[in-house]
């Protein structure tokens, strides 16, 4: 049962930040797709809820060839999924969204809420990190922008403190000869991932690997970069053998925890398989890309 709370509905971002700063025992709600579950389970029982659903200043998708993509925090998953420009420039983001829970959840859930919730099994963060995204958050005193892979601190914990709101996710413009792919492993395609892997590959003009990013989902307390495997690939001519090797490293570097859905061994094994497959997919996209 959800405990009673005071409902606050700010009209602007400024007002929202002020309300949040004013009340100590206070949580922020937007789509409610993460918060409502923990409220219902009684894990949280805040006295105040600030509802930022109507703070329209944070609802936008902007793209610029130089600056890249900027998504406001209250933009819904469904808006990302349905965005033509994102489909064209960052198809991996759209593909990820299509398998994120149900349409109902995507209609309500927002980008900001998803990242602030910091569930290591979340689908959004691994793809954004693979795309080298940064995140902007702020409070009444100011704003701060950090690389997204540094934003997450622990299970359900980020660099944000009380009074901080996620404001925007920023993804750099796609580099030439680049590709990105994401897949989660689960029993039903749109369920939460038991484990997941995202990979991006950027190629040099000579076809060698200029850069690669590998991010594992639900493989530790936060989305997990596998830099050791990334370093293995950089500067090399990529092939299946290297992808398998990178998968092996990912499997070893991961820190998955067993639960009823899969053992630790199975999680590590599948993380290796997914890493190998996503690297290959990203590589093939990069080869075809302009």
């Amino acid at each position: 049962m959800i405990n009673d709370f005071q409902y606050l509905k700010p009209a602007s971002l400024k007002e929202a930040l002020a309300m949040y700063a004013e009340h100590d025992d206070c949580k922020v709600i937007c789509g409610g797709q993460s918060l409502l579950i923990v409220l219902r389970q009684g894990m949280l029982a805040p006295e105040y809820l600030v509802d930022i659903k109507h703070v329209n200043e944070l609802k936008y998708i902007k793209f610029d060839e130089k600056d890249g993509l900027r998504i406001g925090a209250t933009t819904t998953h469904r808006e990302v999924e349905k965005s033509d420009i994102i489909a064209k420039k960052y198809p991996a983001l759209v593909a990820m969204e299509q398998k994120l829970a149900s349409i109902q959840t995507r209609n309500w859930g927002t980008i900001g809420g998803n990242l602030a919730h910091a569930d290591p099994a979340g689908d959004l963060a691994p793809v954004l990190i693979a795309l080298n995204a940064e995140i902007k958050f702020g409070n009444v005193d100011g704003e701060k922008t950090v690389p997204l892979d540094e934003f997450f601190v622990d299970y359900f914990e980020t660099q944000m403190g009380h009074g901080d709101l996620v404001l925007e996710a920023h993804v750099p413009a796609p580099e030439p000869k680049s590709g990105c792919a994401y897949q989660k492993f689960n029993l039903l395609d749109s369920e939460m991932g038991i484990v997941a892997a995202a990979a991006s590959v950027v190629l040099n003009a000579d076809g060698t690997c200029k850069n690669a990013r590998i991010v594992l989902g639900n493989a530790g307390p936060t989305p997990l970069r596998v830099t050791k495997a990334e370093d293995l690939l950089k500067g090399k001519k990529l092939d299946d053998k290297l992808f398998t090797e990178a998968g092996q490293i990912a499997s070893e570097e991961a820190q998955p925890v067993a639960d009823i859905h899969a053992s630790e061994e199975h999680r590590r094994h599948v993380l290796g398989v997914l890493t190998k497959r996503m690297l290959k997919k990203a590589f093939e996209q990069a080869q075809k890309a302009a």
Binding site: S102, F185, L187, L188, M192, I260, A262, H269, V270
Partner: protein
């Protein structure tokens, strides 16, 4: 064929309550709100096995808004059960006096002015327990030194069942090839959209009315009267709409019992709706089973002997589990003519939630073992699995020795159709396989362990002045569409349209008794009662028609599509509405009423009729991760004469989603007696977007015992799927899956073992 000349039957009809449901106007128990109603909550045991030393309710009673707190001491302490004829199987006190036997068992209940206060009061009840050693698995619980769960029950064996025919030892002597395997079949949650719920209203006049989510209003009337010390007639059950049952809603549940006790104490209405978590941990479940199967075949594929032993995890109480124990062993022989057959089933108590009946009633487990082993033996002997099934399959007129007589059987056609379908798919890509499984199912049980003195099914129809019809039935619509089925049978029989029929069900005060919705019984049994009631009324109407039309008595009269006419001269007749008006005047204003009933006689031990089917599952397995993708489920199905093609498709799709869930998704893991996934994030069920394509080929047969030739269609469709998926995995990767559900890790393990064996 005469049975095909229908005006209503076999044309697609939308559920007659569909609009009320999709527009939110249908009143489920959850929606019932009465003046002065209180809300109840139940305190449940955190221990799998413990003595109750003391329960102190003082602090809870002091909380403002709390009206009553009840414990076992407030009850009559009656040990109840649904197998009423067998005292030793009536083993469950819903608020136990002495000890708890599973985590989630109710120990106290609170009624308060709001749900929140009732919930808060639970924390203020002080229960002192003495924790006892517990046991969770049947193969452990059956050991000599295992803890005793029920006093006086040796080795925790709750019920045993023996089925045997032919000379099994001689059969194995004759066999050219014998194979034996162990299988482990998991439990499954019923997962009704509507959790268990009840609003009980006991009034000072001594009458109790209960709105509840039930599969059998009559069972609950009788059972609740029993535990509350009331006369059956003083208990009225109302269940106008029920959000699913699947075999889990005809024993007394904690919502019904606790709201009843509280209401009787307070003389106020009390409502209890179980949360999803409570429904998961403290209702009942599909029975987990361990099967040992030994089968003997001739080189040519003739089935000469089978010997099976089954140990089921009964959980803490009997429930409907005793029936599942028998039916599992019976359907384990299906649908084949075993020259000799022996089954020994042991239902074992454990300190886990009780297990009970669930759609398929023990058959999905039995088929998972039997149908896979048959395929493996065919592969070992180089035989064609279709041919072997055809060779040994039931046929019309066959008698299962000492058990059942098969009056109609379309199995061979089912096998032929699926064989054609599978062959049409040609060669499959790597890691993809199609698996088959055949089976059959009953059309209602002939069991009467409930000891009902009433007919198994009854119906009453009354015809209004304008020709509209009030049809009162005791059969229970739980979402499967039985009210629609009954309306179709009534309209067909009487010669009117479906919209002329208003169906009344789910009210014991106004509807005749009926055993309810279980064992696929309603279409055949209640359908026969409805048909008889309508024939009774029609005969009376036609008597007036003869007089009114003044025709020669050698002519036959009939009514079709509201037209009363001479059968040989259909243009000569009168309007049905006019006839009804005239009949009313002629009977001094009494309305025409018809009565019908059905109780099976001379139909063997199990059921009056059996459906048959073969199913094929097309699946692809990722050998690296073990993940299974289901491409398609195709079923050839003999349900006799289909009554409502739309209803049939609905049942098929529902069964496929439930049975696929059982095959590769749904599981109820326990740790120290505690269910680890009592929520819909961690308990996986297939949702609409993930449903694979399903289709059905209807096989035309006619069942002489069924209304218009109809048999069961819905429950049996849950039986073949897990086995068919297992066989698909076998055909795709050559591995044998002996444990349910078929998870990616189990697939990988089996692949690793296969690799090891090949070294």
């Amino acid at each position: 064929m005469s049975h095909k000349k229908f005006s209503v039957i076999n044309t697609p009809v939308h559920n007659i309550d569909g609009i009320a449901k999709v527009t939110g106007r249908a009143t489920y128990t959850f929606d019932v709100k009465l003046p002065g109603m209180l809300y109840g909550k139940i305190l449940r045991s955190p221990h799998p096995h413990a003595k109750i030393i003391n329960i102190d309710t003082t602090r809870a009673m002091e909380l403002p808004g709390v009206h009553a707190v009840v414990t076992g001491k407030d009850t009559l302490g009656i040990k109840q059960g649904i197998w009423r004829r067998y005292e030793e199987l009536c083993d469950e006190q819903i608020l136990p006096l002495e000890k708890v036997r599973y985590i989630g068992e109710p120990v106290a209940a609170v009624a308060a002015v709001t749900e929140e206060i009732a919930e808060a009061a639970l924390d203020l009840i002080d229960v002192e327990y003495e924790v006892l050693p517990a046991v969770y698995e049947p193969l452990e619980a059956i050991k000599k030194d295992a803890p005793t769960i029920h006093e006086g029950v040796e080795r925790n064996i709750n019920v045993t069942r023996h089925i045997e025919w032919g000379d099994v030892d001689e059969g194995f002597e004759q066999a050219d090839y014998i194979r034996e395997d162990w299988f482990k079949c998991s439990g499954q949650h019923h997962m009704c959209m509507e959790t268990r719920a009840a609003v009980s209203n006991f009034t000072p006049e001594g009458k109790l009315t209960v709105w509840t989510s039930t599969q059998s209003a009559y069972y609950h009337q009788a059972l609740l009267a029993g535990v509350f010390g009331l006369r059956e007639g003083d208990v009225r059950i109302l269940a106008p709409y029920v959000g699913g049952g699947f075999g889990g809603k005809f024993e007394i549940d904690s919502a019904q019992f606790c709201s009843g006790i509280l209401s009787m104490k307070l003389h106020k209405p009390v409502k209890i709706v179980l949360t999803r978590e409570e429904d998961f941990i403290a209702s009942k479940r599909r029975t987990p089973m361990f099967y040992y199967v030994r089968t003997g075949m001739k080189k040519d594929g003739t089935f000469v002997a089978r010997e099976s032993r089954m140990f089921s995890n009964g959980g803490a109480y009997t429930g409907m589990g005793a029936t599942a124990l028998y039916l599992s062993g019976f359907f384990h022989s299906f649908p084949y003519k075993w020259q000799s057959y022996r089954y020994d089933g042991y239902r074992v108590y454990t300190n886990t939630m009780p297990s009970t009946s669930m759609r398929g009633f023990g058959a999905p487990q039995a088929m998972f073992c039997s149908e896979q082993q048959i395929d493996w033996m065919c592969a070992d002997l180089g035989l064609d699995p279709f041919e072997v099934r055809r060779k040994n399959g039931h046929t019309e007129g066959y008698e299962v020795p000492g058990q059942a007589f098969i009056a109609s059987c379309g199995l061979e056609q089912c096998i032929n159709e699926i064989e054609k379908w599978v062959k049409s798919k040609g060669k499959l890509p790597a890691n993809r396989g199609i698996g088959i499984s055949s089976c059959g199912f009953m059309s209602g049980g002939i069991f009467n362990w409930f000891d009902s003195p009433y007919s198994f099914s009854s119906a009453v129809i009354t015809i209004n002045v304008d020709g509209t019809v009030e049809l009162h039935v005791g059969c229970q619509d739980i979402g499967q569409g039985s009210n629609t089925t009954m309306a179709i049978i009534a309209a067909e029989t009487l010669g009117v349209k479906v919209e002329d029929i208003r169906v009344h069900s789910g009210d014991t005060a106004h509807c005749p008794a009926d055993l309810g919705a279980w064992g696929s019984r309603q279409t055949l049994m209640a359908g026969n009662a409805v048909k008889m009631a309508c024939e009774d009324a029609k005969k009376q109407l036609l008597e007036f028609a003869y007089a009114e039309m003044g025709i020669n008595i050698v002519y036959d009269l009939d009514i079709k599509d509201r037209w009363v006419h001479i059968v040989a001269r259909p243009e000569r007749g009168m309007k049905y509405e006019d006839l009804v008006k005239k009949a009313l005047r002629a009977k001094d204003g009494q309305r025409i009423m018809g009565r019908g009933y059905y109780t099976p006689h001379r139909k063997g031990m199990i059921s009056p009729a059996y459906s048959y089917m073969m199913q094929a599952v097309d699946a692809e397995i990722d050998p690296e991760t073990g993940k299974i993708k289901i491409h398609e489920v195709m079923t050839a199905h003999d349900c006799g004469q289909p009554i409502n093609p739309l209803g049939l498709i609905g049942q098929l799709e529902g069964a496929a989603s439930m049975a696929l869930g059982y095959a590769y998704l749904e599981d109820m893991p326990f740790e120290d007696g505690k269910m680890m996934n009592p929520n819909l994030v961690d308990y996986k069920v297939i949702r609409a977007p993930e449903m694979p394509k399903t289709d059905i080929i209807e096989i035309d047969t006619y069942e002489p015992e069924g209304p218009y030739g109809a048999k069961e269609a819905g429950e049996g469709l849950t039986n073949p799927t897990a086995a068919a998926l297992g066989n698909a995995v076998f055909n795709a990767l050559g591995i044998q899956m002996k444990e349910l559900p078929i998870t990616p890790e189990r697939v990988r393990k089996a692949l690793a073992e296969k690799k090891e064996a090949q070294k």
